[in-house]
């Protein structure tokens, strides 16, 4: 039943679009896959697009927060894009603060933001 999330490479960035509701196993497998891909490609940044995702619970939020910290340890910056209004509202009401996470409205803004971050 578990499916894997495709990770694309564009110049020195990885681009991930999460297209369907994440179950626990897929989320954990994604964490490992992304770190492996960072290791093998030596990418310096990741854009993680969540546009189609219509809810995020605390488990998925924790997995995402962790993968951002882990990527940081490997020297890569992560930008999250496309968080829907309903997702932003429920995350905050739930009491989850994704602190120190760089976000952008959409993929295009996210890539621009990432490129600027990588220049600094």
């Amino acid at each position: 039943m578990m499916s894997r999330i495709p990770i694309l490479k564009l110049r020195d960035c990885l681009i991930v679009s999460i297209q369907w509701e994440l179950d626990d196993q897929t989320a954990l497998a994604f964490q490992e896959d992304l770190l492996d891909k960072l290791h093998t490609t030596a990418a310096r940044g990741v854009v993680l697009d969540l546009t189609p995702i219509d809810f995020i619970d605390s488990f998925i939020a924790k997995v995402l927060g962790d993968v951002i910290s882990m990527s940081g340890l490997m020297g890569a910056k992560v930008v999250i894009t496309g968080i829907q209004p309903a997702v932003a509202i429920t995350l905050i009401e739930l009491g989850i603060r994704l602190e120190n996470v760089v976000t952008a409205l959409d993929l295009e803004n996210g890539l621009e933001k990432l490129e600027r971050e990588l220049e600094d």
């Binding site: 179950d23 619970d57 605390s58 488990f59 924790k62 829907q84 209004p85 309903a86 509202i89 739930l94």
Partner: protein, 133 residues
Amino acid sequence: MNLRSSVDIITEWDIVAARQLGRNEAKDVGFGTVDQARITTAISELARNIYLYAGKGKIEIRQVTEGNLRGLLVIASDKGPGIVDVRKVMEDGYTTSGGLGAGLPGVKRLMDDFKIETVIGEGTTISASKLLR
């Protein structure tokens, strides 16, 4: 009118099944996208609590009417160890699992009405409802 449906929570996959059922029911009642997300998230948290702390249990979802308002009632029940200090689990930031599951205060904020009944050694039943306004 009292339409009910339920999902037994035994494996991680049942958490997914419970929240999908919740989303469909919320849509069916006519909740908007933000309330659908609130209800789906609340069910996911309650189902995960059952899976983490009780091992197994059940999520039941009922369409209810209160006066002339329609709504959803979510009942999460288990025969687990029960909650020793209910006041403590209702504090923000309290966790016994190292941060898996956002905890019950979050679920309470997402829903309109929230009740815990728990008996040590016998189990816990949490009822949370939301009305369509």
